[in-house]
Symmetry: C2
Subunit: 340 residues, 2 copies
């Protein structure tokens, strides 16, 4: 009844395309999620240090119904410029909010991570790089790890990265998630290396991992070390997108984004701190089905949460050591089956 999509990626949602621009030397990059002809969108910002653009128009009381793309980028607030290049790409193709006379204003919400301490301080994704990411967008994209906006990410003292997951139901519902994990909290138990949320794997997708031990250390339980070790604000955040082929209105898309945050909560401890700008966008491409009732919407939100959790686990599995940061596999080889 429930299974992993063909590519276990957000592009399993029909109409969603993903492209990256990656600078593997400066360790930064930009990721574009194109929403085909436009998707109904919502957002929920739960972190205390967000860097965002075009989020206010997503409020259900506001005018614009559909967005053409979402941009996730490195470069901290400077990286918000990358969305301008995606707007140019879309304007050239006539995609955007119709403002009459054949003219359009592309609607491209964006969120950024702070990655300037990893790799290069000077290199920040610009409009040019956003444009290149859009040019690179393809309908099937399951790249993960140190790619796009995940290139310079760090998560709980390890190398973070970009991850994806998808869920397909036998009734045709598809839910995909794409995340850039750059959290101050840990996605892993610091003693065993067990990845939080890996118990939510579908179809054996996390079978390379040993089961988490019963007595996980979790973290120092007063969180004193965590916030003593990394006390600078604005250097962390987990950002992402959940997408579905369901037909939602804007308020429903916001609810989907809100519930998807629960997937972040189950995968990262702690989440939503003063030092994270945790932001999730929701996109509903809306082919087919009628607008959902409350029960299907609650179900969709629960599935979005689980899919988002799985995307975070994949981000940690796919990241590779870089910029002086060890990836999960290098730091915790014993967390993997077949290791000594």
């Amino acid at each position: 009844v429930v299974s992993v999509g063909a590519d276990n990626a957000i592009t399993d949602v029909p109409g969603i395309e993903v492209g990256h621009w990656t600078d593997p030397h400066a360790l930064t990059g930009t990721t574009v999620i194109l929403a085909g002809g436009g998707a109904v969108a919502g957002v929920d910002v739960r972190g205390a240090a967000p860097g965002t653009r075009e989020t206010d128009l997503l409020d259900p009381v506001n005018l614009v119904q559909r967005v053409q793309a979402v941009v996730l980028s490195g470069g901290s607030a400077f990286g918000l410029d990358s969305a301008g290049g995606v707007m140019r790409y879309l304007e050239e193709r006539g995609q955007g909010q119709d403002v009459g006379g054949g003219r359009v204003v592309p609607i491209v919400p964006a969120a950024v991570i702070f990655d300037l301490d990893v790799g290069s301080w000077e290199m920040r994704p610009s409009g040019e790089h956003g444009y290149l990411a859009a040019v690179n967008a393809v309908p099937r994209n399951s790249e993960q790890g140190n790619v796009g906006a995940g290139t310079g990410a760090r998560a709980g003292g390890l190398k973070g990265g970009l991850g994806g997951a998808s869920t397909e139901l036998s009734d045709g519902l598809v839910v995909g998630a794409l995340v850039v994990v750059n959290s101050i909290g840990r996605a892993h138990d610091p003693e065993s290396g067990a990845l939080f949320g890996s118990e939510l794997g579908l179809d054996g997708e996390f079978e390379s991992l040993r089961a988490a031990p019963a007595g996980m250390a979790l973290f120092d339980r007063d969180y004193g070390r965590l916030f003593a070790a990394n006390p600078l604000a604005g250097r962390n955040t987990t950002i992402g997108v959940v997408a579905t082929n369901a037909r939602l209105d804007k308020a429903q898309a916001k609810k989907m984004a809100q519930m998807a945050h629960d997937g972040m909560t189950r995968a990262i401890r702690p989440a939503h701190t003063m030092f994270d700008g945790d932001t999730i966008f929701a996109l509903a491409t809306g082919q087919g089905e009628e607008v959902m009732g409350s029960a299907p919407l609650a179900r969709l939100g629960a599935i979005a949460a689980d899919t988002f959790t799985r995307a975070i686990v994949h981000a940690m599995l796919a990241a590779t050591s870089a910029g002086g940061l060890e990836c999960h596999r290098d730091a915790f080889p014993s967390a993997y089956r077949g290791a000594e």
Copy 2:
């Protein structure tokens, strides 16, 4: 460095008193959390079907800084009247927002659960019952289970209830939580009965429980059964209060309430659905310390989340079968150590 408070209850926070009014026959009740001379307060409403009172004034942009009490009640929206009785109790004692001439308006935010399908439809807590709950308030109160607002609660198909927990740090910080678990989602794995979040126990507080199995069933992974079985809106919700002796401003109290929701997320799957009115209040009594910086606040929020998770586990452990609903212990004896 981190330990359970003396009573493992919200009243471990100095100045916080708790009182209940309980109707064990009609299976409803009201719980009052008195905040001494007044506490800085915040709230975060994350469920889609809330029943609340005096939450708008808690917005950091609004005037009132301190509340004198928070009420949690059964009776659905009818039960919001119980806060009026608590206002009368406080007015008689001269406690409230000073409006000149020796007159006060007590500020008593409230949230309710729908318990009218359990026990009696007609019996709803009124102002009289709120007043009685306030009269019953005491500085040490660790009652749990089918008491106060938890009397008629149900959670994920089992009997729900009221639970509490507290955390004390060696630097003097105290965090307490009180919760009424009435969720549509489950606090337990439906196959093994393992309680989600019990891995967060401190000082062996959950040693009566067997460790959760590695391959928990979680729930049917498309959530179809869950929302097919209980499709009526407004019948579920998890409500609670987190309190601390730290000194916070209103925005910080809201952040604490926000992060405490992550504790709900880790204990209940799914949380924050269309069918829950999930609402958490935060109270900061503020003796002693200066207003917190960002790092201590993030730490406080993480501790509040974990304390809230533990309170939910305690609610499930303390609830007893009633109203045709089995409690966790009766439904899953094998989840407890020493069982066959």
